[in-house]
């Protein structure tokens, strides 16, 4: 492609982006918005969150937070196990011609947002930790299966061929030649997904699964901003700690 062509193309995309932004900003209408109403609201919320933090709730909040994190652990664990068959089905060096089917399945699973899954499971098993765990467990298969499959496709063929040469069957090739190679990477993906799920579990609580999300939603709805403050603080601390710890572990693993 010539340079002028590239220039034209860049200008075209820039123009398109500009049109989109102009459309969005000019057609947006904010009915019933007035600074005189919103400003005291914002000030009240900020005062509640930062100054009137409800420290008395810290103990109960920690228990709820622990529930949320346990949900994330279970959801990640279920996905870590359930993603294995999908991953092998989706990697070209194991499933050969059927790899396309596996990739397609993983894409389909990934498309359905966790919240939608959670809503369906809440209708099924009732509101509670189970619905959240199932939603995370199923949604996480999509990304983890894809990462697993990429890792499986990138392995060294040597050990597998050696086992094949000694007369090992397909299962033995996978178990002794492939699994030891990919296990550290798999563990790293599991930790990465746990970081994501720790955040997602909070959101699932807001929708109706158990954990810290539920009291957070109630506090927001009833305008108890001091309680919102302490819950937010707990979430920020927990998620930061998880990010930090899992980042360090992942660096050691891979």
């Amino acid at each position: 492609m010539s340079k002028t062509m590239r220039r034209y193309q860049a200008a075209l995309y820039a123009g398109l982006a500009l049109v989109l932004v102009l459309w969005a900003t000019t057609t947006a209408r904010f009915d019933g918005f007035s600074w005189s109403q919103v400003l005291p609201n914002i000030l009240g919320i900020l005062r509640g969150i930062f100054l009137g933090t409800d420290w008395a709730y810290a103990a109960e909040g920690t228990v709820k937070l622990l529930q949320t994190m346990e949900m994330a652990v279970l959801g990640t664990l279920i996905a870590a196990v359930l993603a294995l068959p999908f991953a092998f089905l989706a990697s070209r060096n194991v499933a050969a011609r059927f790899a396309g089917v596996g990739r397609f399945l993983l894409n389909v699973i990934r498309t359905v947002p966790e919240i939608i899954l959670a809503i369906i499971f809440i209708k099924g098993v009732g509101p509670g930790a189970m619905a959240g765990v199932l939603a995370m467990g199923i949604h996480s298969i999509g990304l983890m299966g894809k990462l697993y499959a990429d890792a499986v496709e990138a392995i060294d063929k040597g050990p597998i061929e050696a086992i094949q040469a000694c007369g090992g069957n397909r299962l033995q090739q996978i178990w002794y030649g492939m699994i030891p190679q990919v296990l550290p990477e798999f563990a790293s993906f599991v930790l990465y997904r746990f970081e994501i799920n720790a955040r997602a579990a909070v959101v699932l609580g807001v929708v109706g699964a158990a954990g810290i999300g539920t009291p957070l939603l109630f506090a927001i709805l009833s305008g108890e901003w001091g309680r919102v403050g302490i819950i937010l603080l707990l979430i920020v601390v927990a998620v930061s700690l998880i990010d930090l710890g899992s980042g360090k572990l992942r660096k050691k693993l891979v």
Partner: protein
């Protein structure tokens, strides 16, 4: 000490499968015991029946309740036989204990569902509007923030440290929670959604951009510095051309994330199609819920496709 350590390592590496299994079991048993959820709930057939029922009701199906033991009812309620014309409805209801639920595909339901897509055009456009404005404001503000929060450009160390910390803290709050709080401040509508997405895109783009600024080639900056260029000239001619392709990639990525989350933000009242989902769900209008879910999935898939195509062009 070192030999002990080696032996300990050998102890664990001799049976890796055993240790991995033990760890996984521990990670399963402790939380599930605390949360009081066991496999029993998962294997409960009633739960699956309810879920299947919901999934059916989301689709273009009609539900009919019929008597499975209909013959028995006829025979027992009337000794003269089913053709006598004498039937006691109370007795029929009492005998008909085993109700069976049948699901039928109804083409006219599908027509109603397609018609409903036209009804939710306004919230659908609101969803895209929220995502676009949020991405625009967030990435625009992220550029100066990224300049101040990258180690090789920041002129003061405390500015760099505070900027980094603030951005990391913002990213720990899930966007739906942020939106819920902003709904409390601004009331329901697209505005809290736009602000939540702006804050979120700001934090993501600023972080990614500052990381790529830190890995740029210092050559051009030093050249401009050597010829007496100011800090702003160094940025404009030494840094900006180097990070522009990265920046465009990040904006695209954030747009993709924002379109995804703007579909569900409405669930907490922040405008868009998620609001429709929540209202219909609360009113028990499952057919409409099904339509909204399908529309959401179409949006996500389409956005994935578009951003993949654009990314191929960019790189």
């Amino acid at each position: 000490m070192s030999s002990e350590k080696k032996r300990a390592k050998g102890f664990f590496s001799r049976r890796p499968a055993l240790w991995v299994t033990a760890l996984l079991l521990l990670l399963y048993i402790v939380p599930s015991a605390h949360l009081k959820i066991g496999p029993g709930e998962f294997l409960n057939g009633e739960n699956w029946r309810q879920m299947a029922d919901l999934v059916y009701r989301l689709g273009p199906f009609e539900r009919i309740n019929t008597c499975k033991n209909a013959n028995l009812v006829w025979g027992e309620t009337d000794p003269e036989g089913p053709w006598s014309g004498k039937l006691d409805p109370v007795k029929v209801a009492a005998v008909c204990e085993r109700e069976e639920t049948l699901y039928w595909f109804r083409p006219d339901f599908l027509k109603a569902q397609v018609a409903y897509v036209g009804n939710i055009k306004a919230p659908l456009l609101d969803t895209f509007r929220m995502a676009i404005i949020g991405t625009f404001i967030g990435s625009l503000l992220a550029v100066p923030a990224a300049l101040y929060s990258s180690q090789n450009l920041a002129r003061k160390r405390w500015v760099y440290l505070t900027a980094r910390t603030v951005m990391n803290l913002i990213r720990t709050v899930p966007d739906l929670v942020l939106a819920a709080i902003l709904v409390g401040a601004f009331g329901t509508g697209a505005l809290p959604g736009i602000i939540a997405l702006s804050i979120f895109s700001f934090a993501i783009v600023a972080k990614l951009l500052s990381e790529s600024i830190e890995s740029i080639d210092p050559g051009p900056i030093e050249a401009i510095q050597a010829t007496g260029g100011s800090w702003w000239q160094q940025i404009a001619f030494g840094v900006w051309p180097q990070i522009l392709p990265n920046f465009m990639g990040y904006v695209l990525y954030v747009l993709e994330v924002n379109v995804r989350s703007s579909t569900v933000l409405g669930y907490v009242g922040a405008g868009g199609i998620g609001l429709e989902l929540q209202t219909n769900l609360n009113l028990g209008r499952f057919r409409e819920v099904g339509v909204v879910i399908v529309v959401m999935l179409v949006i996500v898939v389409a956005m994935d496709w578009v951003s993949n195509k654009l990314r191929e062009r960019l790189v």
